[in-house]
Symmetry: C2
DNA sequence: CGGCGCTGGTTCATTATTTGAACCATTGGT
DNA sequence: ACCAATGGTTCAAATAATGAACCAGCGCCG
């Protein structure tokens, strides 16, 4: 692992519930030498990727990340485009919706929207990191990802989040085949019990899935009618989002009109 | 300069008008050795900071920057909060508005909003990089920044963007003193001729300016009445934004109600 | 008080990584 | 068939990263 990767890996210890990290904490979390962490963080700070608090000297993410994100949005406006689509999708389905991006080894939630229709709803954070095999979004991405990438993900041990999580690679592969038949992914309680989640992949210009759009609902509310509504709305919203970011589905992707 | 800083500096060559950069271009832009650039970009790619196009193999910013930005927003929600404030400010003033963040050596535009009221308006890009001394936003930030930081910025030669740009450090210092009297910054044609821009600083929890909120209008439309409207609206919006991100102005910052 | 345990920060000889000139393989244009 | 680009690779030499030990400061507790 090169020095740059080490420095960047330090950034991955920031999470929604840990937005500030002190030097000692960071050395413990990373397992690196304190001097190393200190110097690396110093460089990250010079470049504006992190900044240090005045009083406790804890590190937090810096303004440079916003700059880069704004830049990325200028070329591939997935965030700004998805915001409106999420809002509409939440209104239409009456449930919580979110977009996620596929990463090397995990899936990250980017943005979400709630519906005011029901008092009980699935709540979430932005910038959450979840696994591929246990979420409908992750499975939707895998179903339309590079086969080599799928095998790489499945080669690691699969964490059992709940009693319903698929942890056998073969079961996951079967699930992916099933998803490819309909173009829709759904999981019932495999990441959190009592949550029934549907997802569709979002495609980039290279016809590969780069992320997913999902609807998460309490399992108790999932009637056959509700399920049909969600699936239809998701198909439309997914196609719209893929189109708006300049992507296109692969030739074998099931059409909206199908089934 | 350490290896990490070098790698991160490569990211700074991405700009709104250059969202994809090939290996050779990047080598030329950075002045580094091609092998070095290749390896550094490889590491950045592994961490998801950049990704490579399938066909031309050009690099573009990757999804990881969105993840980090979402994380930063979770702790200091300047972007999401400013969006609404910008929209309201644009409606109220009828002009183009934007937020910028102060950086080590430059100021970056983060987000903007237009007003539909007039056909002619100042247009802008998000993620633009501008100078401190030539923009109302930059001057507003400097006026409430660390004195040592101000001197550091003024120690570099000041670029003359237009015939009206302040390039004498003493003139800039005088301007900063003037800004501190009112809490408001304004420039007429110092970055682009014919643009009259007003700005107020945005404060962090440490009572120091971390960014600025600005209204940019065509100079031809700037009547005394319009100026008064803009200044009043800016004061209110700035105070609201500072408050919403958990910041607070220094004790000597002129009150909204004053003058 | 005075020592303990923590924090962030620093040093410097040892070690491992980065560096860059030259190289190869492809591609597209003339 | 050539030339000039492109992205990608190699390996000895040079340079940068490393980590154990070390300060200094703070809050706590008996």
């Amino acid at each position: 692992m090169g020095t740059v990767s080490k420095a960047l890996s330090l950034l991955s210890f920031f999470a929604p519930d840990r937005t500030e990290i002190g030097l000692s904490d960071l050395t413990r979390l990373s397992g690196m030498n304190k001097a190393t962490v200190y110097r690396l963080m110093g460089e990250l700070q010079e470049s504006g990727f992190v900044e240090q608090g005045e009083n406790d000297r804890a590190y937090r993410l810096g303004p440079q990340v916003l700059h880069l994100a704004a830049l990325r949005e200028a070329s591939t406006p997935i965030l700004s485009v998805s915001r409106r689509i999420l809002r509409e999708l939440s209104e239409e389905t009456g449930e919580t919706t979110h977009v996620s991006l596929g990463h090397e080894t995990w899936v990250q939630t980017l943005s979400h929207a709630y519906s005011p229709r029901h008092a009980t709803k699935v709540t979430m954070d932005d910038a959450q990191t979840v696994t591929y095999h246990a979420t409908s979004s992750g499975l939707a991405i895998l179903a339309y990802a590079d086969p080599a990438f799928v095998e790489q993900v499945l080669s690691h041990p699969l964490k059992m989040h709940t009693s319903k999580t698929l942890v056998d690679p073969d079961e996951v592969r079967a699930k992916l085949a099933q998803i490819r038949e309909t173009g829709l992914s759904d999981t019932l309680g495999s990441f959190e019990l009592e949550v029934h989640s549907h997802a569709v992949p979002i495609f980039g210009a290279d016809h590969k899935a780069l992320g997913a759009l999902a609807v998460a609902a309490p399992a108790s509310r999932m009637s056959p009618d509700q399920k049909k509504t969600i699936q239809a709305a998701l198909r439309r919203a997914g196609a719209a989002l893929t189109h708006r970011i300049g992507g296109s589905p692969p030739a074998d992707y099931p059409q909206d009109t199908a089934r």
